[in-house]
């Protein structure tokens, strides 16, 4: 549907190659499909939407160059950042320009510091909030007044370390004993020594963070070989179907925190149905769409809502006004993308649900209600 009004540009530094390409191609598909869908719905208040992106290879300098190129030749109210590194690097320029609101692939806790990053938001819970949701679930699993014990396993990266201190505080608050902390090299080759450490403390739960797949599989397999009945959990980027596809039956019982409904879940809603229909239309052969796709789509949904609220209020589309519009989101119905109405708090949406792998069915199934943090 063509419109006469000026297009609203969704900009993006997108990692179609490099270490994050496995997710980048899907979040790109989510952003592309949402753009097609919103245009088929008449755009935003009659403005067509144009999605302009560059491949960054997940390299900060290339992301910055893409940002400058795209914002240099377009008026870009909202922009997708591909990494925490880029979003931190570009923050001062974003603050001084005051033209653009940014979100992206990062769920970094630091980005919800509104003093330093007033024009960046997280399209879901940040990593600390994900740990909060996980720990609230774990606390609810205790029996007879006993709280389960937990171990944190994380990569020796900024990504991996992000929620650990806040996670320890939250655990203490809930009365959960963190019995071990394991730090591994990123791209770790062997974790058998770390597994031996966990064997000695026998945690009820192990929470992984800062990985996509390996070494989660090795921890699970080796600890089960030792006869331990520990349960395993992970955060957003390690809670996709990739785990099931690659691990097969070994993935059974693995749990993840997820702010969105899975593409193949039994949940529904008008927006979730629209997403599935658009995905089917754009690539009928693709089948299941990963969580990166859901994240890309939800990002664009929030941008649309923010732009719409700002235009409806008769305000200019600048970063300050859009940040205020974001903060005004309260009990927003996402049409089934998230199963409960959501409220923006400190530039994030601290809500999620625990899902468990049913390896036989080849999918995640919900094992908790939606958990919203205060």
């Amino acid at each position: 549907m063509a419109q006469d009004k000026e297009p609203i540009v969704f900009g993006g530094s997108i990692p179609l190659s490099g270490v994050f390409a496995f997710a980048g191609v899907h979040l790109h598909a989510g952003l592309t499909d949402y753009t097609s869908w919103i245009n088929s719905q008449g755009g935003i208040n009659g403005h067509p939407v144009k999605y302009v992106m560059e491949d960054t290879g997940y390299e900060v300098d290339r992301s910055v160059a893409a940002f400058k190129k795209i914002t240099g030749s377009n008026t870009v109210p909202v922009y997708y950042g591909d990494s925490t590194g880029f979003m931190k690097t570009i923050a001062s320029e974003l603050n001084s320009r005051g033209t653009t609101l940014m979100s992206g692939a990062s769920f970094a806790t630091a980005l919800t510091d509104n003093e330093q990053y007033p024009y960046q938001f997280i399209p879901g819970p940040n990593y600390s909030q994900m740990f909060g949701i996980i720990l609230e679930y774990i606390a609810s699993q205790g029996e007879g007044g006993e709280k389960p014990t937990v171990a944190f396993v994380y990569s020796d990266t900024e990504f991996g370390k992000d929620p650990i201190e806040n996670g320890k505080e939250k655990a203490a608050e809930l009365g959960i004993d963190v019995v071990e902390e394991i730090v591994t090299k990123p791209g770790s080759v062997d974790v058998s020594a770390e597994v031996l450490k966990l064997r000695r403390v026998r945690p009820d739960y192990v929470v992984f963070h800062g990985y996509v797949l390996s070494p989660i599989n090795e921890f699970m397999v080796q600890m089960r070989q030792m006869g331990l009945d520990t349960q395993f959990m992970g955060t957003f980027w390690s809670s996709d179907k990739l785990i099931i596809n690659k691990m097969g039956e070994d993935a059974d019982g693995y749990m993840g925190v997820m702010p969105y409904n899975y593409y193949d879940s039994q949940e529904s809603g008008p927006m979730l149905d629209a997403l599935r229909a658009q995905a089917e239309k754009s690539d009928p052969e693709a089948g299941y769409r990963p969580t990166g796709y859901m994240q890309g789509w939800f990002n664009a949904m929030v941008w649309t809502e923010v732009v719409k609220r700002t235009l409806d209020a008769g305000k200019e589309l600048n970063a300050k006004n859009m940040a205020e519009s974001l903060s005004s989101i309260k009990d927003w119905d996402t049409g089934g993308i998230i199963g409960v109405p959501v409220t923006a708090k400190n530039m994030s949406f601290p809500v999620g649900r625990i899902w468990r792998v049913n390896a036989k069915e080849g999918r995640y199934e919900p094992v908790s209600d939606w958990i919203q943090l205060d």
Partner: protein
């Protein structure tokens, strides 16, 4: 002190070190014969591991057929690289040749992304899964069997270099190229053979390490971390690669277990720094090595 724990940790570290030694061997054989530091060794490992994935996963071959095929593929790749890209560089400065190997590494990463995509991968299971106990000490089965397979290849290599004509030619070329020429040794063929053998060791290590830690287009980075092993052992010393590989594997694991995972790399780099100060040519290397 929990000696059982120390023993278990040490075993795990020594076994992992055995795989480091195998990768280091890939560096050393090529350097020893040709004086080229092959920065693409990690990517050759990666390529062989992806070949294994294709044969055992995609084509559903028995892993025990796929393994030799993948290792063969990796070693052929090494031979082709030497013939097509390294040989034309003969006589150029060592830095130029090193830059070519870095370029080859990038090409291989791109090729793998094109052929297999960017998703992280796990190799089909092929090593036994029953826990291995040595006395009361537990050893992860993948590491234990990986070590045994790697050690078998190491022994074969040592025997080959010691007793075969090809091995003698390789050693002769390594010690004095001009003399080797004058004695009728086909030095060009020896160069090619060194790349094939070096890549073969790396390819086997690639499949074994990927079977333990997973595979992705970034897997080749491990090749660079093994460079520490090679420098500590001595760039042109096979014995050095073996000893340093096992030692660095053990040290990394023990440091990680007792100090925390973030101390693994600092521990090995501390050793590297000390070695570079005391013996810049490595523990077992020859003195005249020109470092890059």
């Amino acid at each position: 002190m929990d000696w059982l724990f120390f023993g278990e940790i040490s075993l795990a570290g020594l076994a992992m070190g055995g795989l480091y030694a195998l990768i280091a061997l890939g560096f050393v054989i090529i350097y020893k014969a040709t004086r080229v530091i092959n920065f693409a060794i990690g990517e050759i490992m990666m390529f062989a591991a992806y070949l294994f994935l294709a044969f055992a996963g995609g084509l559903e071959m028995s892993p025990w057929v796929a393994l030799p095929l993948a290792v063969l593929g990796g070693s052929i790749l090494g031979g082709v690289i030497e013939k097509v890209m390294i040989r034309p560089m003969l006589g150029e400065s060592p830095i130029s040749v090193v830059m070519v190997t870095i370029g080859i590494a990038s090409i291989l990463v791109g090729l793998v992304e094109l052929l297999w995509g960017a998703d992280p991968q796990l190799l089909p299971r092929f090593l036994p899964r029953e826990p291995v106990f040595i006395g009361e000490m537990y050893l992860a089965p993948k590491i234990a069997y990986g070590f045994l397979i790697g050690a078998a290849l190491l022994i074969l290599y040592l025997l080959y270099f010691r007793f075969s004509r090809g091995g003698v030619a390789l050693r002769a070329t390594a010690s004095d190229q001009a003399a080797a020429y004058s004695m009728g040794i086909n030095v060009r063929r020896v160069f090619n053979l060194a790349w094939v053998f070096g890549s073969l060791a790396a390819s086997l290590a690639g499949v074994l390490v990927a079977a333990t830690g997973g595979l992705s287009p970034q897997f080749g980075a491990i090749g660079l971390s093994v460079l520490v092993v090679v420098i500590v052992g001595g760039l042109d010393s096979i014995l050095g690669a073996l000893i340093a590989g096992v030692f660095i594997g053990w040290l990394e694991t023990v440091a990680g277990a007792y100090l925390g995972g973030e101390y693994r790399m600092p521990a090995t780099f501390a050793v590297l720094a000390v070695i570079l100060v005391i013996r810049p040519y490595g523990l077992f290397g020859t003195h005249e090595i020109e470092r890059v």
